[in-house]
Symmetry: C2
């Protein structure tokens, strides 16, 4: 269960509106990014917001053999939250986590990011933020 | 998108084997816990591990109107990782996040926990660990 997680809030995203508003578009973007990063999709669940959300809004999760990706969008704020976690069973997936994050960062084009990186699942290490950018 | 997240690694879980090994059991437990905590399930995705996992193993995510729950189990280690995140749109969901965590903690019965709590989505606050137990 040892692994690496990136948690990020994307603010002021310059991506096209559909990525923030349309669940099908968000899902296809996430699935493509997971595959491109070399991660294995085993299940997915996405939801389109409607009532009470004039601009739509989408939310979802991709369950990976390695752990998960979760993305929630806020079109009225041009924002999204991102969680990418992959554990290391047969190999170190740290670079794949970073590649998936980089891919979604490039797609959402946030002008401001709050980000935290965690090492998980290792009782020999404190459950703390990993230094890095 | 302001919200509250608990990230936890459960080690040495004293729960029954099925919760760690069976995806259907894990899913029903998660869905029941979400509903009991007052959170709104809008989608779900669970996966049963088989090949290469002698003890099984299960993984999944519940997509909430408020954000998500993700749980991955490691039966060979009697361990699970947990992510609970809920944002505050119409109300402060902090207590619901804590209630969901407490419910799953009580169900998995870990003897050791690594836990981190985060405040998210607020550019006026640093993206840092929230103090608390």
């Amino acid at each position: 269960m040892k692994g690496f997680q990136i948690i990020a809030d994307f603010h002021h995203c310059a991506c096209d509106d559909a990525l923030l508003q349309d669940a099908a578009r968000l899902a296809s973007t996430c699935l493509e990014a997971c595959a491109h990063a070399g991660l294995t999709v085993v299940a997915q669940a996405f939801h389109q917001f409607g009532d009470g959300c004039p601009l739509g809004g989408a939310t979802g999760a991709v369950v990976l053999a390695e752990s998960h990706l979760a993305v929630h969008t806020w079109p009225e704020l041009r924002a999204a939250t991102l969680d990418v976690y992959a554990c290391n069973v047969s190999q170190d997936n740290g670079k794949r986590v970073q590649a998936l994050y980089n891919s979604l960062y490039a797609t959402f084009q946030p002008r401001q990011v709050q980000k935290q990186m965690l090492r998980r699942g290792d009782l020999n290490h404190p459950f703390n933020t990993v230094s890095g950018s």
